[in-house]
Symmetry: C2
Subunit: 244 residues, 2 copies
Amino acid sequence: MAKDGMNVNKDENIRSFLMIGQSNMAGRGEFRDVDPIENPDCFMLRMGRWQQMYEPINPDRDIFKIKYHSGISLAASFADELSKLAGDRIGLIPCADGGTSIDQWMPGEVLFDHAVMMTRLAMRSSTFSGFLWHQGEADSYEGRLEVYQEKFITMISAMRRELGAEDLPVIIGELSEDIERLEKPNIIKMNENFHAIAEVLPHCAVVSSKGLLLKPDRLHFNAVSLREFGRRYFEAYCKITEQK
Amino acid sequence: MAKDGMNVNKDENIRSFLMIGQSNMAGRGEFRDVDPIENPDCFMLRMGRWQQMYEPINPDRDIFKIKYHSGISLAASFADELSKLAGDRIGLIPCADGGTSIDQWMPGEVLFDHAVMMTRLAMRSSTFSGFLWHQGEADSYEGRLEVYQEKFITMISAMRRELGAEDLPVIIGELSEDIERLEKPNIIKMNENFHAIAEVLPHCAVVSSKGLLLKPDRLHFNAVSLREFGRRYFEAYCKITEQK
């Protein structure tokens, strides 16, 4: 009765990934710019249960709004590629939230606790397999840039500990260098932050944003580039786990 | 930077309500059938934080699917009416999930734990004020009908206890008597269940579905009727809390 969604069984094996960060992880791509990804092996968490993946995966904002709506995200092509390569079912745990700074992701903050709670729920019916992070626009300012590495490592280490996920990959995407509202030297410094983090944090990789394009808002990656970004996250994940 | 959503401050006073149950609480109304409700005093929980209310409030299913998509729900007009009457800010905690049976809502189940977790997060920045329930289609069968009252009372009592919300209102909506896939006597028995529950459960009210219309799917209330249903939930809430 009222069977209006497909749920997978607890026993079926899903490898799950946590989506965390700000709007460019949540995804603001236009639906009309790309074909939908329809892969029966890709799922996303809704109310703690797995549903067939559709976009927007991460509904942090209005979908019908013209500006800054929830839309296409990089996670869809990441999941699609990984499921095809590995023949596994992939589950996405959407916890990204637009406009948020690293301070809002620190242990004890709502976003940190929400992400940990949702991942724990997901772990009842999946094998938790890694972290997908894209954030930094909100911290690309003098005074914030200098403390970002330390804050990020504190945050992600605490999250790994909370989830018993000390050895699981953390994949970080670079910011676009073309964001209009930020000073370019600051964007470059933030991207250097990410690479410096990956040098000291075990099982961490940084994904290049080279050649990826923004929407006319000059702030968010466009849908076509998000598909490509997801494939690069997938490549980075494979490299770090030596799956390819 | 990347400020793509309005968040209210922790100190601002929001009265929050938990949306639980199956598809007719989640909401499957067509967007084109009603005007959007734009009330700056109405909010909904996203990633543990308050965002301006928009629909779909409860994104348990695909929004672009033609059949059984997340859509208009009764909670929007409930929140709108209550904020206008009380002059308060109202927050909705969307935890309903289509097609679910009462067994899936029992303590220890994913949906129960998810609802408790999300409400606890909401309570960091709001005053939790009550439960909005609509469910029963999945249990309107012989064998299930007879045990529904006991199961519901066990479930809601446990949830109240977990949240320290023993005295907070529980508002239950009747099923439509026109659902095609169910035997009418069974629907009537389920509605009798609700009224019997309200007789023994403190601070519980049942909302009539009389005159409300279904969509052509003969399963889900249409958007216009959901607006009316929400106003009836509001009336019931006012009566039980003697606000009017």
